[in-house]
Structure formats: C-alpha cells, structure tokens
Subunit: 666 residues, 2 copies
C-alpha cells in the first residue's frame, strides 16, 4: 500500500516513477528520477520551461488515483508567472507544484529538453534537440572584502551549485563583459555554457532563449536559417547570391583568380564572410532578435567554400592531387572567422569527405543517414560536380563526378540559373512537336489562357537545368533526338521548329526577341554531364558490388526541381524502382541544421565521414569505361522496364543499349 | 657474462642501463630506457641535440669495459653534421652512433630535455626546463589521389608515428599556413606542439629553437626577457616606461581616468599592449631572431595591469570590495590580446592572489617557493603597495599593505624614482651631521675626489626610495630625528644643515640650485609607509601564530637597493637575524621566467595561489592597532638586539618601544 507521507509520482511519456516526501516539487522529483524536464531558471518560476500536466483518472493505467488536488494549489509565485506569461489552465510549473498525493504527470514535448523536431517533407527523419550550448540562470554570490575570489570564480561556483557544471572555462569576450553584466541585475545572470565546459556568454537577468544559424555556402547562393536552439524551430531564413561570383562564375575560375592575383584568397574570404554576416543580420532582424543571442553557427559547403570561409587558401584544391588543408570538422570561435554573432559564440564547420566531396556532402550524409538503413541508398547532390554517396549500414562510398555546370543551366545556349523567368518544365507533342512549358514564377502551363498574365515582369528569360533535361528527354521521346544524341535532320520535315544550324540541327522552344532553342551542343553538354553522373554511380555500385540500388535520393535544388522520370529517360541515374526515387530537398542545409540543433550529431558525422570510403573518379580506369558507355540516351536496359510503366518510349531505342549489359527483350 | 651480441649500455647521470642488439643507435637505446636525451629532428643527424660522450675506463664504476671503439665510427652523415655545425671531438650524435660493445655514455646537461638552469644571485633555486611548447621535426607523407586525407591529417600521422603525439589539434593561424609550409621544403617541417596537444605553428624544414618572452608589467616600468625555451638562457632583456603613466602616475589615477573617460580602459589597454609589442620586437631584434619563432609569452603584473592587458575594465579594483574579474591564471592565444609573436603563439597570465595582490605576487611566490621550506619566510615586494607573503610548507598567508608610493620616492619633497642622478645611499656623520652620499649612475661616494667627474650628465636630481630611508635612518642614529619622528630643533644648534621650516625643521642634504632636503613631512610620509609595511607583516604573523620569522626576502627594485640594516633601524620589517634578511632580486620577473620555461610550474603556482590564505588589511581591526603601534622609529624591541650587533644605536631610543612588547633590557 502507498505510504501517505511518500506519495507516488509517475511521469509520462518516460514511465519513470518514484516516491518522494510530501512537499517535494515536481521538478525536483523529475530530476531525481532523470526525467527529461527542462528548466533554465533553476526552479524560480521565471522561465516557464518546466510546465507539466496532471493526467487525471489514470487509476487503471498506473494503478494510482491521480488527481489535480494531489498537487499543491497555485501559489503567489506561480500566479504571478501566469499573469505575466499566461499559463494554460491545465498546466502547472513543475518547480512550484508540490507533491501532496499520488499523481501521474505528463511532460509535454515543449517541456522536454531533448525534444524531437518533426522534419519537413523531403527530410529523412526527425531531429533530436540537444544543442551544444545551453542557457543557465544563476544568482551569483556578491564579492566581499573577506572573500577576495574573482567574479568569475563565484559565477563558476553558482553554476556548480545549481547546475552541477564542473571544470568550466570562459571565453575572453565573456570575461571582458562579466563584471558589468553581474552588477546589472543584482548578480542574477544567465550564462550560455557549451558542452565542452566553456562559458561563451553571460547576460544580465534571465534569458531563456539562445539561437543558432545554419549556413549553407553554395558556389552560387548562400542560405542562412535562424533556429531556436531549444525548440529547434526555424524562425527565419534568407538567401543571397554568393558575391564571389564576381571573381568567377564557377569554382575553378575563382581558384584561377587566386592563383593569378596576389592576395586574391583574402578578397574571396572577405566577401564570403561579409555575405554570411549580412545574412545572419537579416535573419536575426527578421525574427526581431539581437545578434548577441546567437551563440552557434554551423557551416556546410564544398571544399573550396569551406577553405575560403576559414581563411585557408584553396589553390591546392585547384590541381591534382586536390589536397585539403584538413578534412576534419572544426569548432572555432566565431570571432576568429570575423563572424558577427555573440562575441563568445562558436562556429562548427562540418568535415569534408575528400578534395572534391565537401562539408555539403557531409551535411547530406548526416541529413539522409544512409548508414542507418539496411537498403542500399544512392544519394546524389548535383551542383557543378555531382557528389554521390552509395551504401547502407555496412559500408558507405563517396565520389564526385565531373558533371560540369550544364545541369545548372550553364554552358547551355539559352541556359540560365533556376530563377524567375526560367523555363523549368517542358512537354513536346510527339506528333506535332509543339511545346508546352512552365516557368519559375508562374503556376500555369504555357498553353493555359491565363499564362501570359502570370509571367513575371522579367518575361521568359531562358531555360534552367531541369528545363533543358525535360526538353531533351521529350525531344528524344518524340523521336527528334536519336539515342546517340544527334538532333535528327529528318525531324525538320515534321516541324519548322527543327531547323538546320550549319552542319547540325536545333529545336526552337520559344520564338521571341531572343529565341530559346535547344542546339546540338546543348544536347552534347547534357550528354557529357549525365554520362559523368551515371558513370560515377556505376563506379560506386561496382566498388560496392551491387547491380541495383534500392532507393535514390536527389539532393539540392536540382533534385527538387527535376522530374525523376526524365532523369531516367536520359539515363542520368541507374535503374531503380521509380517510386523509390525522390527528392531529398536541401539535404546539405538540413545537415547544417541538424549539426546546429543536436550536438551528438557532430561526433556522429565526424565518425561517419572518417569511415566513408573515398573513390577518386579521376584515377579510376573503370570510370572512363562507364563514362563512354553512358553517353547514349538512354543506356540502362533495366531502366527501360521501369520506365515503360510510366512513359511511352520510342521504338527505335530498343537497339541502343550501349552500356554492355543485357539487350532489351522485345 | 655479457652477451657479445647484446652489449650493455649504461647512461649517466641517470644510471639507467640495458642490453640492446648490436647496431642499436644510442638515441634509440636511451629512449627505450627512458633516458632524458633530447632530439628535435627525430634521429636524422640534423639538430645535434642528442650529443653524448663515451666515458672510458669506467670498468670499476659500472663493471664494464667502456671504450670509444665500442660505438660505430663516425659515418658520413655525422661527419657532414660536424663540418656544418662543429661537433666536439669527444662528442657523438646519439642518433648516429651504433652500439657495438659495452659502453658507458654520459648525457651532458645540454643534451637533456629537462635540464636545469642555474639561477643568478638572489634567486632561490634552479629552474627546471620543461617548456609548454616543443619543436618536432617530421617528414610528412605526400598527398595522393588514392588517399584524399587532408594535409593536417597526414601531419598528425607523422607526429604520431615519429613522436607518439596523440589527439592533436591545430591553431587556425597554423592551419592557414600549413599547405604552403608543407610544400616549401619537400614535406619536411618542424611543428611546435603545446603540451595540451595544440599544434601552434609549423615551419618548413628543421627548426631546432623556439623562444619565449617573460613580461613583467609594473605600474612604472615594463620589462621583457627573451629566453631560449630549450636551454633556458636569457638571450636579451629590455625595459621601458609604462606608457600608461600619461593617464596617471599611480594606479588609482589611472582607474579614475577610466571612470571619468568613456572608453578610457580601451586606451589604457591599447598603450600597454603596444609597449609590450615594442619590447618583444626589441628583445627579438637584439637577439637577431624573428618574431615568428616566439611561441610563448608569460605575464606578471599587479591586478590592474593584468586586467588592462587582458582587455578587462579594472574599475571594480578601484573601489571596495576590490573584486577581480577572475583570480585564475589564463592561457590565451596571443592574437586575442593583440600581441605580435607567432600568430599561433600563446600567452600565459599568472593568477592573481586577491584584489590587491596580483600576478606579480604570484610570480614572487613561484620564484621564492616559501611553500617548499620548513622555515617561516616573510617575503615583501614593495611597490605602491607592499605585497607580503608569510609562511612555510604548511601555510602561506598573503596581504597587501597600503604603504603608498613614498618608498618609490613619490610624495617626498625632493623625491624621485630610482634613476640615474638619484641619491640612493646616505651616510651622516653623527658628530658633525655632514652627509656623504652615492647616486645612481656613479660608483663613488660623494666625498671621493673623483666623484664630481663621475656624476651623470643630468647631475644630482633628487633622492630615491632607498636614499630617503637611509637618510632618515642616519638622521635618527645621529639624534637629529626623535623616535616619534620629529626633526629635533635642538639639532639646529649642532649644524646649519638643520634649519627651521615654519613650525617644523628640515635637514639639507645637498645645497645647490635646488636644495635636496629632508623635511618633516617627508619623515611623516616614510613613517606612515613603514608603519603600514610593518603592520601588515605583524598582522600576518599574528594570523600565522608566530612571534618571529626565520628569514626575510625583499623583492623588487626597492629590495635590491635598500640596505636591510636601515630597513631595520626604521622598523620597517619585523625582527629577524640580519644575515637572514636578503634581497630576492626581481622575483616577480623571475616567476614569469620560471612559468615560461617550466610548464609544470604553472599548475604548481595555480595550486599554491588557490591555497594561499588571503588577508584583507582594510577589514582587519588588528591592522589598525599594529599600524598605530608601528609609527615610532624603531619600535621592535627584538630588532634592537639584532641591530646592536651592527650599528651603534642612540641611547634614548631605549624608552621608545611602543609596540606593546617586552621593553629592552638595559
């Protein structure tokens, strides 16, 4: 039988239970039992993080008669909190409610320290919240002529006394403000403490929220996401062009700029850091916060971007053997990188996998976690190069294939980046060869009567990566392009959209002031790019010893825009059940966000990247073999079987299985 | 009997011995046995640190027939080293000499890693050499398309392979130069690695010498000593005025300046850092070295100086309760303090003991190590305040007594700092009252016929601290000054040097354009100062429960200049055998040098300062009591007994034992 002086308390969802003397605060009982119940103010009814709900009528489930009145009534302190911050009727502050009789207590997700953030569409799984930096409220003992200890030493004592934090250090900027901060609100302060024991910042009074920014540095665009480190919520996001573009559109031009201009690396470092600072300022201001509440930044990017943001000269990455300064992750004071967050804040740069496979790929690896699955995943992040990860819980292989920038709309006659005005989808009538298309910035197809009014102000400006792929695939399906990639002169007889262009032919998608056309060289550029992509994937499959992958995830903007059907028509990706091919969204950015919110994920991704087997396509003879074999459209016999279910393939492709594998049975 | 194939090797001075297969290099045998034999190049005959000597004819002592020819003859590599760097005839490179038969090997002090530096006069004991940062030469594996690991990771592997260094990190500045440095001398580099595992710097090729600078920041002067971190040798020293003097002569005026001028602390920080940088540049240039070979700096100073150099606002130290921002030692990247040494280098700031007892006192504590002795030591460092340490291996107490700056020549009518032209010694004929004196900058007494020609160009400019003390003590011994500190009008009858000065009298030491005189107020200022000093010492003795100290050490410039006899005549210091009172030299600076050369001394001084019992004189009632009792000249009855042995005390002082202790038996 229950001892009336030692009531039973049962917590859900953990199921942890125990008996405590009457009058024990719920928060204290939770702590004794190791229940995950949050608190920043340490039980002073200030932060409201320890809210709990009494589950009544739980007799049957827990075998106890749980009643609301088995907790002490709301006292003055709790009522004051409720007036100030609105405490829902069924909620109690765990630090104020005292145990009087048996109760079942539910800890809602918002009151758990290690809550999970449900991730968005595209994303592989939920994020565990466990940030590297936590806020701790303390009241520090005042100095005294009889106790000449330093202010820092008394702050440490308070953090040890109230939060059991041992062996703390302090960042120099935090120390430099410490004396003023301690005296501002009568020796009550909130300290931000990193998991490695460094006090990175101290604010006067209670500060319940700390923030972080996840940064994804692409060669073309830089994106920033501001997150609440306790809830995991993304509060605001912003993006801007990478200002390094003025030193060179693609990475290698930027490296050339550095090679040819003394101090060029300093310029490129300065502009990328400035852009990051602008983005951080923007997301912080959008969320109506102040920069000094931002204590953590995580960064992903390709190896050259990672080098430049850290102030490392990337010239070695511009030539064989493509040696990284370091492939390890780096945890650095933000001030050492000139980033303007809290002056004691930290930057975590994710590790690079190899000279061509950067921290962005590590971010994808973390976001997709193929190492947790039994099925073989192929994950492809298409940028200027295509970074690929292949494997499962037993082995992960990585490589980068030199696709060039064609998939990004570069080196294409009417090509452009994916931006408003760019054609992103294309359908071509196989009989009349008349096209329909959609552009970024409009929801309508071009044959919709309302389409002309829906075009953005810039008009139709060009064709982006996904548009050119659909166009070429549709032209192939319509018999305009042959399996060897030639635009057929025969098609000129079927439509005046196909015209001779010197010794080759081109297809005019849109007539206007400046025609938007698909030229023979455009097809060649896409053929080279897709062959490189496919060859990389085949090489990895060969190394892993598999003939088929179980699932394919396409990361990045390209992966989000492309219709996977067309990718398969072109033979960009290996055979896979079409319903197992999906977009992974901005997986690199998601990886940065995971590393921001979950400190454990950092050691996880460091371990995983160390274990990844790195394949350098440039030194693999088999890559060249696969590459040549993959030039035809399409080339994967198995892919035909899969495709036939969803698209009507032209008859003549039957003979064109050049990849050396079994010919189509037809 | 000895096995011919496994000769015996015996090392001195360690006495370690062992058998190794024929052909084993002496260095390798030494390492296996844990013999302290240095090497930077790792056995490549480059650095010459592993030099050893064969002790022949050691048969009787070690029981073996040690012969020179029992080592392999000098080969080509060793001869090349000798041509380049001169290897003494009896010396061998331990890494090249191979064991062929039994040998006794002596490791000279210069080849030991943990050698001891014999300290100078005044200094308490030898310094153990064990710097925080060591140099390690390695050959790094070149990058390879088949191994995409980072340059840093291959450097770490080399350091682990050749030097068993594990879990290394790298400073960002070192990482930023790494790729260039590795490629400069064909992947041969020297890495400077701190004991905490951070690679702070990397240089191309072999670099056998690293350097450090010990800095002593006084309110008036700043001193720097450049040391060879391997030999401990002081290569050059320099000093300059503390440029903060233009913001206020004494510490409190500087704190007032900061209180009254927005951003004043930034100005004071900037000028002291600039002065330190100038001094470092000066000592480095004097030794014909480059700044980037300096990897460690240690700093001592009073609490206000320590705050300012670290960029901490010292205003709290200007008012009760005199709270330090932190009393702990700090190890900080030099770049965070704007100090221009190697960009990856570190600064170690010694801990402060209390709000008035700074890192300079910690330096004194380290240099003097009273905690290693059985006898009770009283250590006094006289500056604007007098920092005092009292105790032995059981307990150490510390306090600061508010002596004011009189002992530094300030607040004295003809006073000045100890500088050329200042009177530093004084003798007064007890009969005629005629003075003799010596000035800084001349070796002669003023009654020497050659004296006038020996005076520095500035002439005789004033009287410094030790001069005024001797003058007052001599005037007391000559009966001109009474025990209560009054300049007696009676003495005017004995000499025209004693003249009325309003209602009081003064003594003219030197007649000239501007007379140098000892006025009644000067005697009062010295009385107050010496009473404060004595009272502090008595208070500590009372707390420790001792009536007598076994030895007294006087640290700092004051301690070096003063004749201890006069200190005792005036009653500045408590009773002690005169031959047990001595100067400790610049003990604070020595402490900085020890912390620079011996990494273990850092944890030692951190532990010791934590354990020191801090006494705040301002809140101790007994301090006031002792202070009043100590105003008379002299006042310590026991001191008389001791003094009588060396000076003839005036008869009438017998009645003047005001300190409430036993009266003189006479």
């Amino acid at each position: 039988m229950a001892d009336k002086n030692e009531p039973l308390i049962v917590f859900s969802p953990s199921g942890k239970r125990g008996r405590f003397p009457k009058g024990t605060p719920v928060l204290q009982a939770a702590r004794s039992l190791g229940v995950d119940l949050d608190s920043v103010c340490g039980g002073r009814a200030l932060c409201g993080r320890c809210q709990v709900v009494v589950t009544e009528g739980e007799l049957s489930k827990h075998g106890i008669d749980s009643r609301l009145e088995n907790l002490s009534a709301r006292g003055e302190t709790e009522s004051r909190y409720s007036e100030r911050r609105k405490l829902a009727n069924n909620r109690r502050l765990g630090c104020q409610a005292l145990l009087l009789g048996d109760v079942a207590i539910d800890v809602p997700a918002s009151s758990q320290v290690h809550k999970q953030v449900v991730r968005k569409q595209h994303e592989a799984h939920d994020i565990q919240i466990n940030p590297a930096t936590h806020a701790y409220f303390v009241e520090v003992t005042k100095p005294d002529m009889h106790d000449p200890s330093g202010d820092l030493e008394r702050l440490k004592l308070a953090l040890q006394r109230d939060w059991q934090l041992e062996d703390l250090r302090i960042s120099l900027p935090a120390l430099q403000t410490l004396q003023t901060v301690l005296r501002k609100e009568d020796w009550q302060v909130t300290a931000a403490v990193r998991s490695d024991g460094e006090i990175v910042a101290v604010w006067p009074g209670l500060k319940t929220k700390l923030y972080g920014v996840a940064i994804d540095i692409g060669s073309t665009t830089i994106a920033a996401h501001l997150c609440d480190l306790a809830s995991g919520e993304v509060l605001s996001s912003a993006g801007q062009m990478n200002p390094q573009i003025r030193f060179g559109e693609d990475l290698m031009s930027r490296v050339s700029y550095i090679m040819m201009n003394e101090g060029g690396e300093t310029e490129l470092t300065a502009v990328v850091r400035e852009a990051i600072n602008n983005l951080i300022a923007e997301v912080v201001s959008d969320a109506k916060l102040s920069l000094d509440t931002v204590v953590e930044v995580t960064i992903v990017g390709n190896p050259i971007m990672m080098h430049l943001v850290m102030g490392l000269n990337p010239v070695e990455l511009g030539m064989a053997p493509f040696a990284l300064a370091s492939d390890a992750a780096a945890s650095l004071p933000a001030r050492d990188l000139g980033l303007t967050i809290n002056s004691g804040g930290y930057v975590y740069a994710l590790p690079c996998i190899a000279g061509h496979v950067g921290a962005d790929a590590a971010g994808v690896l973390l976001a997709e976690s193929p190492y947790e699955r039994e099925e073989i995943s192929l994950i492809v992040d298409v940028g200027t190069n295509a970074e690929m990860l292949l494997g499962n819980r037993d082995r992960i292989l990585a490589a980068s294939s030199p696709t060039g920038p064609a998939f990004e709309g570069a080196q294409i006659s009417s090509g452009q980046r994916a931006a408003p005005g760019a054609i992103e989808r294309v359908r071509i009538d196989p009989e009349t060869l008349e096209p329909r298309y959609r552009i970024i910035g409009s929801e309508l197809w071009s044959d919709d009567p309302a389409f002309p009014d829906s075009i953005p102000a810039c008009g139709v400006t060009g064709i982006c990566g996904s548009g050119i792929i659909e166009a070429i695939a549709e032209l192939y399906l319509a018999g305009v392009i042959n399996s060897d990639g030639t635009i057929s002169g025969d098609a000129a007889k079927r439509s005046d959209r196909v015209t001779a262009d010197g010794r080759t032919f081109s297809y005019t998608l849109l007539r206007g002031e400046r025609d938007i056309t698909v030229q023979q060289n455009d097809v060649r550029a896409i053929q080279l790019a897709k062959a490189a992509l496919y060859a990389g994937a085949r090489l990895l499959m060969e190394k892993l010893g598999v003939e088929k992958v179980d699932r394919i995830r396409l990361a990045g903007a390209f992966g989000a825009h492309i219709d996977v059907k067309y990718a398969m028509v072109l033979g960009m990706i290996p055979d896979c059940r079409l319903d197992m091919v999906s977009s992974a969204g901005n997986a690199a950015g998601t990886g940065a966000r995971i590393a921001l919110l979950d400190n454990n994920s950092r050691s996880e991704i460091e371990k995983q990247t160390r274990n990844v087997e790195k394949i350098e396509t440039a030194v693999e003879e088999r890559f060249q073999h696969h590459f040549v074999a993959a030039m035809a459209i399409p080339h994967d016999a198995d892919a035909f079987d899969e495709l036939e279910k969803v698209v009507k393939l032209p008859k003549k492709t039957v003979q064109m299985t050049t990849s050396g594998r079994r010919r189509r049975r037809r």
